[in-house]
Symmetry: C2
Subunit: 226 residues, 2 copies
């Protein structure tokens, strides 16, 4: 499904260079549940942005469902993102002027869904993450963990086959975090591919496979036992 | 030192009202190390904003070092914040156009520190949180956990007597999170008052006292044993 081949992401600053990704090769099959684990600054979000077609590598090849991503133009990339991938960002990226339900409707709008269908689906997703009584709150009128849950609801609204989630439980208490993991596990059982970044080893252990990254390199790739 | 007396924070929305804080009474003495724990949406950040003089209650009294905060004007509140409180925000609140060292220098500038003194202190703080090699990166050129660490360095830069930290380790891996907790514990031993919000029970257990909040009310207030 997904194949990163010797991927580099290098930021040049004057005469120094930061190798955010430093030669990453990784394959992820359909329906896998993978956790990407590693220290702060090790390249996890950079890898997610490339996997999600939001960023291009400095070198190397990214094959997504048999297509070489570097050969596609912006419109083609936008279609791939909208139809195939639900993205939960580490800093949520909600639109401040839209309320919770409008934020969750956004991917449905891009997918061409009609108004009443959109609203119904968006409300359903907000209920699923426990925010049924916050649907008309703007992001500034929500707690940190509530904003994170709106971002999760938005990622799931078009029922995408692949979910990329960057620290989806970082701002959540244990109970809310567990509810989110239950949703992700159910989605996985229903056939979705789930790639999530986490620092929390108890979250990583709920995936089937853990990929360890350090200084932009993959240092370990293991099946989760038990 | 700090006394919240029957504090309410109520947001009216049409004919409904959200009681973010619903009658909170709490005293915190000089040099205490308190963790505020509770579910997502329970009122923790709202309480921090009131403690940090960034927000005013709808009802109730806040006495800070024998001063009734509701009787002070904006300038007096700004002086209190700058001289007494270092604040780590849940969403960091870094200035996007300033690089890391300029962001960390900001409270030092308000405190009237000279240029070379400011720069030296800001660099020292960034080194302390492991970001000595990122001082000229802007927030958009930093990972989530690195941005969080810049926010922590900024909170500590004026060496304030009180530190209010809202989820300071939420975006950090175990090792970086532990380094931050070591810094906070050292600061506590050196005489500072530390109030931190966390969902992480292993972080809360490193404080001396845990205050549990739920639906805007304090439901438990316990000494940490061991
Ligand atoms: N401006 C506002 N208008 C209406 N409701 C608000 C507003 N700001 C906050 N709230 C509500 O107040 C409650 C408390 O918010 P707060 O940010 O204090 O929670 P929290 O305990 O910090 O949560 P988290 O752990 O998710 O960060 C939430 O239910 C939130 O939806
Ligand atoms: N635009 C940029 N210019 C320079 N360096 C950058 C830029 N963006 C990211 N970096 C660097 O690339 C490295 C990897 O960043 P990335 O955001 O992928 O880390 P991460 O593993 O997600 O970290 P965290 O767990 O803290 O979120 C970091 O050291 C960061 O400072
Ligand atoms: Mg990241
Ligand atoms: Mg909060």
């Amino acid at each position: 499904l997904i194949s990163l081949e010797n991927i580099y992401k290098i930021y040049k600053r004057g005469d120094t260079a930061v190798h955010a990704l430093d030669g990453v090769t990784l394959q992820i099959e359909n329906r896998e549940f993978v956790a990407i684990v590693g220290p702060s600054g090790s390249g996890k979000s950079t890898m997610m942005n490339i996997l999600g077609c939001l960023d291009t590598p400095s070198d190397g090849t990214y094959i997504f469902e048999d297509k070489d991503i570097s050969k596609l133009n912006d419109d083609q990339l936008a279609v791939i993102r909208n139809r195939h991938i639900g993205f939960v960002f580490q800093s949520f990226n909600l639109l401040p002027k839209l309320d919770a339900v409008e934020n969750v409707e956004l991917p449905l709008t891009y997918a061409g869904k009609k108004g009443s269908v959109r609203r119904e689906r968006a409300v359903e997703m907000l209920n699923a993450v426990g925010l049924g009584n916050r649907i008309h709150h703007k992001p500034s009128e929500l707690s940190g963990g509530q904003q994170q849950r709106v971002a999760i609801a938005r990622a799931l609204s078009t029922d995408p086959p692949i979910i990329l989630a960057d620290e989806p439980t970082g701002n959540l208490d244990t109970k809310s975090g567990r509810e989110i993991m239950e949703i992700l596990k159910e989605l996985h059982l229903s056939g979705k591919t789930i790639i999530l970044i986490t620092h929390d080893i108890s979250v990583a252990n709920q995936a089937e496979r853990n990929v360890h990254i350090q200084d932009g390199k993959i240092v370990n790739d293991v099946k989760v036992v038990g």
